[in-house]
Symmetry: C2
Subunit: 388 residues, 2 copies
């Protein structure tokens, strides 16, 4: 892969946010001389980063064809962690996912770990730890953020140095392959141990919508990017549109960063990553709130070339997702400015959402020993399958 070299960045305290870089060539096979302004790495370096990156694939009752394409697209060297929230009855979707992982492993030899978000073993393992807050009625809560936290624990548990997230509702396997390589390149660019790589979709589309139309971005991201940029512009007194990836489900980070982050539940998870970094390491850096000093955090934003085509789901409630997303800003120091709050209210009213957006539920991994939790899970769980 060859990308445009990310050079310009804006610095907010200890947080460096790089301007959008783009994929110039999906495949740099055979590149011998690098032209100025481009960035690529050798096969050996790519392999090294691939082998140290666990790819977490959250899945919930997804079309098995889309999931299979994603699993077959992630480079062989990266261990896959499938975090399922799929049902077991009346149709046992979860056991089909386990079978798929087993088959792929047995034919290709690739490493796949399958865990279930609602596995009762998690309750035993998490009880008494700071993550007990994720439990409800003896199980880990449903929610995307909660599943991602389990993925981070597992990634650290199997010894990965990096963790990347790739959604399973993607009908373009080539996109999943591209996202993985973007993560590897982004990691290799960073000079800080605290690195995050966030992907911008080139286009997205929905299958079986009334007509297929490739959108540049989703409405939730558009509004959240807008609000975050507005809040930053107000604080700096200089207008900015640096943030392009507020809701990027496709993103990745170093394990050191993942374990020091606080994680939000549900759909607040991705914007909250940015909000807390800006709260702690920009607004709160002088109060000693930033855990990422002296190196600071590098955030790369890279636009993929493949379209992201996913299935139309009946259970998407734009207003609710938008409120969860904007709630992260609203209840933060970035939202202390009344004009920011007013803009959030005004956006939400367009979606018939009245009142305050919800405050994100937040989980901290501080004081958690992921290797210990993961070993305990392997010992306790009957639902976990580790094919390696």
């Amino acid at each position: 892969m060859m990308i445009s070299l990310p050079t310009r960045f804006e610095a907010y305290g200890a947080v460096k946010i790089f301007e959008l870089a783009r994929v110039l060539e999906l495949d740099s096979l055979g590149v011998t001389t690098k032209l100025s302004g481009t960035y690529t790495v050798s096969y050996e370096v790519l392999e090294e980063y691939a082998a140290s990156t666990a790819i977490v694939v959250p899945v919930k009752d997804e079309d098995i064809i889309a999931l299979e394409g994603v699993l077959r697209a992630i480079p062989h060297a990266s261990p896959i962690i499938l975090v399922s929230a799929s049902r077991s009855s009346p149709v046992d979707v979860y056991s089909r996912e386990v079978e798929l992982a087993r088959t792929i492993h047995s034919v290709t030899g690739r490493e796949i770990l399958v865990i279930h978000q609602r596995d009762p073993a998690w309750a035993e393992v998490l009880a008494g730890t700071p993550l007990e807050a994720m439990l409800e009625d003896g199980m880990v809560r449903r929610g995307k953020g909660e599943g991602m936290v389990l993925g981070v624990i597992a990634a650290a548990g199997i010894g990965a140095r990096y963790v990347g997230f790739i959604d399973s509702d993607n009908y373009v396997p080539g996109a999943a392959n591209e996202y993985s390589k973007i993560y590897y390149l982004g990691f290799s660019l960073s000079e800080s141990p605290y690195t995050m790589v966030r992907i911008v979709w080139h286009y997205k589309g929905k299958l079986a919508s009334s007509d297929m139309y490739l959108r540049k971005r989703g409405r939730v991201s558009m509004h959240t990017n807008n609000v975050l940029n507005y809040a930053l512009s107000r604080l700096r007194k200089v207008e900015t549109d640096i943030i392009r990836t507020a809701n990027s489900g496709e993103h990745a980070m170093s394990i050191e960063l993942a374990l020091r982050l606080r994680w939000a539940g549900g759909f607040a998870v991705e914007p909250y990553e940015l909000v807390q970094l800006l709260e702690d390491c920009f607004l709160g850096v002088d109060e000693g709130r930033c855990s990422f000093l002296p190196d600071g955090v590098n955030i790369f934003q890279i636009e993929a070339r493949n379209p992201h085509i996913h299935a139309e789901r009946g259970d998407e409630h734009i207003a609710g997702m938008l409120a969860e997303s904007l709630g992260t800003v609203y209840h933060s120091r970035l939202g202390a400015d009344e004009t920011v709050k007013e803009r959030i209210h005004s956006l939400l009213r367009d979606y018939k959402y009245e009142g305050e957006p919800p405050r994100p539920r937040v989980y901290s991994l501080e004081g958690v020993d992921p290797s210990k939790l993961f070993s305990a899970l392997l010992a306790e769980s009957t639902m976990t399958h580790y094919f390696k």
Copy 2:
């Protein structure tokens, strides 16, 4: 890339047609031990085949976004030959394509040759050669097959050992990347200098159709595969369904094979490749008609993982395309059997096509010196652009 090892084949005289193989992993980055039944190659081998394969991309007034994605997806090491039949007025689509190629070359350094099918220089160059038959009114005829012949001449002219075709009307760049790698792997599998690799789409879909629906294959291919398999079954007295790729636009071959093939014009080009090989090297092998002895021809058929998503075009006439396609069988020794002819008539009647399907217009490269033609083109043409 890791594919299932193609092992079973059917032999028709000097033609070996392999059963469908499948892509198991898009990216074998990091594979160290190969499991039985799988096939992959090292990075070095992949690079070697990539560098010796020219990828011909035929384009005709295509959405520039789709074309750009395809150009950026083909591995860097493979020279690209863009064969344009796009208009120059009222909008100058061709000069936009040249600009795109120039920009990609100047940023990434990759090799791109751009030629135009209707370039008057071709007439000067081809006059007096066996390919004069391609000319009409002082220009190369319009038609897909004719453009592909020019691509083969150019590929041989720049010294490529292999030539692969990838359509430009593809909204999934990852698919173009995958096709290229399938070609490299197929070439590396073959023990004959006469090798062909034909791709089966996993799914195809159309953009902006009334609703997006991923089809397993197009109607033209379905019927042509069916007729070819029926003809072979009648000849062998054993039923077969070996042929899965009668109309595969996505296919590739060694230059030795390409220069010894006869090429059909228009939409007949892909099925005619198979038909003539079966006529000459199966039915006609004892009469000395096969030019590929003693090695014989190896045809690999490999199913890609990415969907093929293209734009809905107003100018697709299924009945006409089907007739051109089935005409290759009808007018061959495979169609000598009256029941085969009857099946073709019956299929065509379902599409309101009455009468005999057209006989393919056929061009032979025998006695043509492609390097000489290509040098003459470079010297004569003002429309050719070679960015390297």
